[in-house]
């Protein structure tokens, strides 16, 4: 019999014990990158004039690089948390602390992938269109 006050898996799977926020970090980076790109473009195109457009494109390019690296790092972390290669468990559908831990890794990994694609897509217009007009 286990007492409710002692937590058998607290130490091992503590990382996400209190919060669901971690799995949204990937999409949050996408959101920040998106809002920053849109805001910077609106600002430069309205107030900056044509001379600043190259700077804007470079800036968004750097921002995209940073965002992609951050998402890739998150993806790597959550891939390890998912731990697919060790136990080949795709579903993680048991009511155990370990499955919950790996499931959150799996979900965060997939969200990192979609965020990576999203950030890449959003950066494409800057690569392909060189003007505010």
């Amino acid at each position: 019999m286990t007492r409710i006050t002692e937590n058998e898996d607290a130490r091992e799977f503590r990382s996400e014990a209190g919060s669901l926020w971690r799995i949204t970090f990937g999409p949050l980076i996408w959101a920040v990158h998106f809002a920053a790109s849109y805001g910077a473009t609106a600002l430069i195109c309205a107030k900056g004039g044509t001379g600043f457009v190259e700077g804007l494109r470079l800036g968004i390019g750097i921002g995209t690089g940073v965002a992609l690296v951050a998402i890739a790092w998150l993806g790597w972390q959550s891939w390890r948390q998912w731990d697919l290669l060790r136990d080949r468990d795709w579903e993680n559908d048991q009511g155990t602390g370990e499955d919950r831990h790996q499931f959150l890794g799996h979900a965060a990994f997939l969200l990192a992938v979609i965020s990576f694609i999203g950030v890449s897509y959003v950066a494409l217009p800057v690569l392909l269109i060189g003007t505010c007009r």
């Binding site: 849109y38 559908d93 499955d99 959150l104 979900a107 979609i114 694609i117 897509y121």
Partner: protein
């Protein structure tokens, strides 16, 4: 004075062992538990029935009301189709046609799609989670009555020929200049309903995260709960921009503050931004919960667990985020920079990926399962077919050059009806068939169901498929007639005939749903062989939700956990009785669903109805520019809500602990982040902060969009008063925080003193903010107008904060708030964290930013 002892925490055995679960419950125990629960959860009888707040009652009323509004909006559409059947038809004149299409769109979105999601979730979510009820039943009831009053008011305007007629998105300058009260009815009536939506979102997020049964960790909770959490979060970030927009819009309509008037520095495009930041996520807000119904039906039909549970979670969360990056694709023709359009085009294409993934997950589940083609599955199949077609035209419309061509034509009408019928109407009807045995304890007719399906499915395609072509041939939306020479006559006639076939299908469906079924007898408990908890329901019906709250270890407990239902029925699990005849449910932790405490749930009440009536008055009187009764109503609404909170929430309990069953003892009272009230406050304030951020966005939008913001010769806010507002506002926050801390340490007198200083300081801060902008004329230009709007927003929040501080002071004096039982004070402090943020941002915008702008 010594520090008071901390509140007790859960103690005893958890998780329960197999031996404990096998131990039989004596029949006396079972009878006692049943009798106590029946007494606690008794539904009011006779005319008192409308004072019920139980989710099974409110959910059904909510759903039927939303469905009624949908039928009305459908009739408006039929009338429009009759008008458009022949060129030069005179069935409706232009003015009435405008009212009809405006109300058709507005009602379908605001009175049907979103409320229907809330209704279904309120009705079903506790059952999916084996909970007794939602955490805040009176809030659901209040939301429902607000919805009913607001909906009747908005729809009723048509009877007086006073409906809004500027289109469901109310674009200025058409809508700001429109004569009559139509736009005011739209703005205030729907704002009122938006408030109800946010209330529902709070309820549903807390419900999905905190009211799961013990053991139901996040990796095994029903997919519906995942979707509800995501959609609740989306409502919090999507609806507030519209509320902020409505606020600015109504200030212009009522007081001529020129937010959208370009001649005085305003900009109509700001409305389009605020509307579509709401409007596009809105589409996903109605789509995701409907597809969530499919996620519950598909595994049952395929007789196996869903394939790719994690992928569907990815899909829900990913769509939730990406859908906020699409709003400008409704504004491709407004002349924004090419690069900006590109961002939104790219995001619009990206959102297809998560949306598609969940559909593939469903198809994969069906492929590997042993499918039984039941009636709900037929509707889901129809939904997938139609939605995919709508999604594909969506991909086309996300491409800027194509969008320019198709903009404002019937191609758009076809596209949006394909997405909404496929993404919302069909899955919801599938849900009605699937869950009817659960909520009505009867079955719908298989034969009539197939008739309804084929009529609606065929009629839908006959109506809307030709519209793609009508649109490509150039027919614009929202025209009340067209000349014969345009050559659109035949296609329009086909569409009109199809519309009547849809109507016939709905008539069959409505008849089947409402016809008396007393001859049917008792239905099987789990007619579809489902694996999720809602089909552990009691037949015949019992009002207690679940006989005992189970311990869950599987995604499909009815399939995997043998003896589960028998044990639930015997009262082997948690909260199998109600010794005090109080309504209770069990609150668990967010990730692992470990029991934390027993929450007292509020029971039947009239006060929620009164609160809704007075809130309605506060919104409806200003429509006709009658302000004094509106203020009185607002004050009464506040009094009602205070009375309801004071008498029935967070009262120090008689006993500190409750034997919850299976050797577990749980506290009856918690404070801070463990408590559902704290979560409710936190979630509400996130939404509120979003609305505030939208107004701040407006300030900077004017600066980027307009060369004359601020105008060269503009008067500015008075620096001294701005600084005073900042200092006093922060002081009020600090005093509240101090009160919380010293109260916790047992220094009650000091806490009371701080709670006297805090409201005085807050009032002074509001006064200073007013003095800072008093001499500016908000009618003259948008710059003083937005400063005034920020001041008004801040002052209203300060006033609410003052009421809360006084509430805590009274609680402190009359023993509702004690050093150990400080939930109210902690929730109010949380509110004040957000107010402090608003004070700092507002005073910075008033006092500092205008000087910094280049």
């Amino acid at each position: 004075m010594t520090r008071p002892a901390p509140l007790p925490v859960a103690e005893g055995t958890y998780p329960p062992t197999e031996d404990m679960l096998n131990e039989p419950v004596t029949s006396e125990e079972q009878d006692r538990g049943k009798a106590e629960l029946r007494a606690a959860w008794k539904t009011p009888q006779g005319w008192r029935y409308i004072s019920a707040v139980n989710n099974t009652e409110v959910g059904v009323w909510y759903a039927l009301t939303a469905f009624g509004f949908m039928l009305l909006a459908g009739l408006l559409a039929l009338a429009m189709r009759v008008q458009l059947a022949f060129p030069g038809n005179t069935f409706l004149d232009a003015d009435r046609f405008n009212q009809f299409f405006t109300m058709h769109g507005s009602a379908m979105m605001f009175l049907f799609a979103v409320p229907m999601f809330e209704a279904i979730s309120i009705l079903l979510l506790p059952a999916f989670l084996g909970a007794r009820d939602m955490p805040f039943p009176r809030l659901s009831a209040y939301g429902y009555w607000c919805f009913l009053i607001g909906g009747c008011f908005v729809m009723g305007s048509l009877l007086f020929d006073a409906g809004p007629k500027a289109g469901w998105f109310m674009y200025p300058p058409l809508a700001t200049k429109e004569e009559g009260v139509g736009p005011d009815i739209w703005l205030l009536g729907l704002s009122f309903i938006e408030v109800a939506s946010i209330a529902a979102a709070v309820e549903l997020i807390v419900g999905a995260l905190k009211c799961r049964p013990p053991g139901m960790r996040v990796n095994i909770m029903p997919l519906y709960a995942w979707y509800v959490t995501v959609v609740g979060g989306m409502i919090l970030f999507a609806f507030p921009p519209l509320i902020a927009g409505d606020f600015l819009f109504e200030l212009q309509r009522s007081f001529d503050w020129p937010f959208f008037d370009p001649e005085r520095g305003g900009d109509p495009i700001l409305w389009q931004h605020l509307f579509w930041i709401f409007g596009h996520p809105e589409v996903y807000i109605v789509f995701l919960p409907s597809i969530a119904i499919a996620a519950m039906i598909v595994p049952t039909v395929a007789r196996r667990p869903i394939v790719g549970y994690s992928w569907i979670v990815l899909s829900a969360v990913g769509t939730g985020f990406l859908s906020f990056g699409l709003w400008v694709h409704h504004m491709f023709t407004t002349g924004l920079p090419q690069m900006s359009l590109g961002f939104f085009s790219a995001a619009s294409e990206a959102v297809v990926i998560p949306t598609g993934i969940q559909l593939f997950a469903f198809i994969a589940t069906l492929m590997v399962g042993r499918v039984k083609m039941t009636l709900p599955m037929l509707w889901i199949a129809g939904a997938l077919a139609i939605f995919v077609a709508g999604g594909l035209t969506g991909v086309m419309l996300a491409i800027v050059p194509f969008n320019w061509q198709a903009h404002d034509t019937y191609f758009i009408v076809a596209h949006l009806h394909y997405t909404l019928f496929g993404g919302m109407v069909f899955p919801v009807i599938a849900g009605v068939y699937y869950f009817y045995p659960f909520f009505a304890k009867k079955l719908l007719s298989e034969r009539l169901g197939r008739w309804a399906f084929w009529l609606i499915f065929t009629g839908f395609n006959v109506t809307f498929l030709p519209m793609h072509l009508t649109g490509l041939m150039g027919m614009p939306r929202r025209v009340f007639t067209y000349p014969e020479s345009a050559g659109w006559g035949t296609l329009n006639l086909i569409s009109t005939l199809g519309a009547f076939v849809i109507a016939a299908g709905f008539a069959v469906f409505v008849y089947d749903m409402l016809r008396p079924k007393s001859r049917q007898g008792q239905i099987p408990r789990n007619p579809w062989g489902a694996g999720t908890l809602e089909f552990a329901h009691d037949i015949p019906e019992e009002a207690w939700g679940v006989r005992s709250v189970p311990y869950i270890t599987s995604r499909y407990p009815l399939w995997d956990q043998t003896d589960l239902v028998a044990r639930m029925d015997a009262g082997r699990y948690y909260l199998a009785d109600a010794p005090d005849h109080q309504r209770e449910t069990i609150i668990t932790s967010v990730i692992d669903a470990k029991p934390i405490y027993v929450q007292r749930v509020t029971g039947p009440a009239w006060i929620t109805i009164w609160a809704a009536i007075f809130t309605g008055g506060a919104f409806i009187f200003p429509t006709f520019h009658i302000y004094k009764p509106a203020i009185v109503c607002g004050a009464f609404a506040v009094v009602c809500v205070m009375y309801w909170l004071w008498t029935s929430t967070a009262r120090p309990p008689k006993d500190e602990m409750r034997a919850a069953g299976l050797g577990l003892r749980l506290p009856n009272y918690v404070s801070g982040p463990d408590a559902v009230g704290w979560w409710g406050m936190w979630i509400t304030m996130l939404g509120d902060a979003t609305a505030f951020a939208s107004i701040v966005f407006g300030f900077f939008f004017y600066w980027t969009a307009r060369p004359d913001f601020p105008p060269v010769d503009a008067g500015h806010a008075v620096g001294t008063w701005v600084a005073a507002a900042a200092v006093l506002g922060v002081l009020a926050w600090a005093a509240t925080l101090l009160a919380r801390e010293v109260n916790r340490r047992g220094k009650v007198m000091l806490a009371r003193l701080a709670l006297v200083i805090a409201p005085l300081s807050a009032a002074a801060a509001g006064g200073a903010a007013w003095l800072a902008v008093r001499d500016l004329d908000p009618v003259s230009h948008v710059y003083p107008a937005i400063l005034w709007a920020l001041m008004v927003w801040l002052t209203v929040h300060l006033c609410a904060g003052i009421i809360m501080q006084c509430y805590c002071l009274a609680g402190c004096i009359f023993g509702k708030v004690t050093p150990r039982h400080d939930a109210d004070l902690r929730n109010v402090t949380l509110y004040w964290h957000f107010v402090a943020l608003k004070v700092v941002v507002t005073t910075a915008l008033l006092g500092l930013v205008p000087g910094w702008l280049p």
